[in-house]
């Protein structure tokens, strides 16, 4: 974002002096805005090999599992990564809830 702001400032400064340059700057800004990942934007989920490498380096409590899931209300699969411990805890919790509801 700050990079884009810098580009916009430069564009304004140069706009009066040389219009062709300002056009070039604007084009550059537009292109950068389209291409640059920026801060806080989309972060690529880890690939299967990256997950495995990470898991090999940490203790079992910190290991993660990444799977492709289809969230409720959508047909678009999403790759989700969770701690294996969390998966277990959620599973136990849901099982208990179900048991309580069926009682």
């Amino acid at each position: 974002m700050s990079l884009i702001r810098f580009h916009v400032k430069q564009g304004r400064h140069l706009a009066g002096a040389r219009p062709w340059r300002s056009l070039a700057w604007l084009a550059a800004v537009a292109l950068t805005g389209c291409v640059a990942p920026g801060e806080g934007n989309f972060i690529r989920p880890p690939t299967p090999a990256e997950v495995e490498q990470y898991n090999a380096m940490v203790q079992p409590e910190e290991r993660i599992v990444c799977r492709t899931e289809i969230p409720i209300g959508s047909n678009i699969p999403v790759r989700k990564c969770r701690l294996a411990v969390d998966i277990d805890e959620t599973s136990v919790f849901h099982r208990e809830q179900l048991r309580r509801a069926l009682r």
Binding site: T47, P48, A49, N55, M57, V65
Partner: protein, 367 residues
């Protein structure tokens, strides 16, 4: 009233206790006469020689005792964190592997890991070599064992190689050694899906480092196979990218394309395999002097998975790091004996598989 605790009784009890104590102290003070003091430096070689003789004679229990004595001697003599322990530790591992004493075997492997981590702090390349050695031992154990324990050893081996990769990634010296290791991980995935069942054993990967499964969520067999294919494909592609920036890399890239083709074939994707093979073949045909490589890749019978043969032409191993050959050939040879179910062969130039025309598929791969 008669008191049960008379002075004479008390005296008797005191005398009995005192005599028992004296006997215990006396026995503790009498020096145990060792038949052989293996802690002296001069005796180390003799103990080792006798251990080797026991191995030759097939007396594995006696050999294990002798190697253990030598190991203790080296530790006492050279220090607890000295490299001199490693050769004796290797012999101990070999002996316990032959004895099928898995508790001792795993104990010494754990010791090997802790020792390597301590000794090679700040030396990533040497640490990676030690991790590779430990991974080799796990693979040897996997050859002997079955079912769950085989799977556990293969997973441990894979984790150790990943740790070696992570160590090598820290330094430019380690880059040339990365490709064979990445290929080893891919091959381990293949063996985990074909020779050892990972079905229901995901807990060995993510929940514990111990050789006992933990109940709970687990990946299905199909999901594990898909994951293994994806990891192998990604790693082989990474090897391809690593070599892509080198000059005069046509034959190296063709060899990796061939390995990519092999990978498709191993996972039943014949069309894609054909495209990779064709890409490799066409690249080699266009390269003058590449006939021997074509011969090596496609004119001889190659059992899959093939050993890693591609070498970096411009990035030789740094001096002093020649401990392991880094080729993965020995490992492939070790693992190849595990390949008990339907052996697959790479198609040869004469096979219809290779000569059929599927140019559109080739274009897809190129993109």
């Amino acid at each position: 009233m008669h008191h049960p605790c008379r002075p004479s009784c008390l005296l008797l009890v005191c005398i009995a206790t005192a005599s028992a104590l004296l006997a215990a102290v006396a026995s503790a003070q009498v020096p145990t006469v060792l038949s052989d003091n293996h802690y002296t430096l001069s005796n180390q070689t003799r103990v080792l020689e006798s251990a080797e003789q026991h191995v030759q004679a097939g007396e594995l229990d006696a050999a294990e005792i002798a190697f253990r004595q030598a190991f203790e001697s080296v530790r006492a003599d050279q220090g607890l964190f000295h490299e001199a322990q490693l050769p004796v530790l290797d012999r101990l591992l070999a002996t316990n592997l032959a004895r099928r004493d898995w508790q001792q075997f795993n104990h010494y492997l754990d010791y090997h890991g802790a020792l390597a981590q301590r000794m090679y702090q700040g030396q990533p390349v040497r640490h990676a070599l030690a991790l590779e050695t430990a991974a080799d031992w796990h693979q040897r154990a996997a050859l002997i064992l079955n079912d769950e324990l085989r799977t556990w050893h293969l997973i441990r081996s894979r984790n150790l190689i990943w740790q070696a990769v992570s160590a090598l990634e820290q330094t430019p010296d380690g880059q040339p050694r990365l490709a064979p290791l990445l290929y080893r991980i891919a091959i381990l995935h293949y063996y985990l899906t074909t020779e050892a069942s990972i079905r229901g054993l995901t807990s060995l990967e993510v929940r514990t480092d111990q050789a006992a499964r933990v109940s709970g969520w687990s990946m299905s067999g199909n999901e594990a196979t898909r994951r293994s294919y994806a990891v192998g494909q990604e790693l082989l592609q990474r090897i391809h990218d690593m070599h892509a920036s080198e000059p005069d890399n046509v034959s190296t890239l063709a060899q990796i394309d061939t390995l990519l083709g092999d990978w498709q074939l191993l996972f039943g994707r014949e069309e894609l395999a054909r495209d990779y093979y064709r890409r490799a073949y066409q690249a080699l045909r266009a390269e003058p002097g590449a006939a021997p490589v074509i011969e090596q890749l496609f004119a001889t019978r190659v059992t899959l998975p093939a050993p890693y043969a591609a070498r970096s032409a411009t990035t030789p191993l740094p001096d002093g790091y020649a401990g392991g050959d880094g080729s993965g050939d020995s490992v492939a040879a070790v693992l190849a004996s595990m390949n008990t179910t339907g052996r697959q062969l790479r198609p040869q130039l004469t096979d219809d598989f290779f000569t059929e025309d599927h140019q559109h598929e080739f274009d897809q791969v190129s993109r």
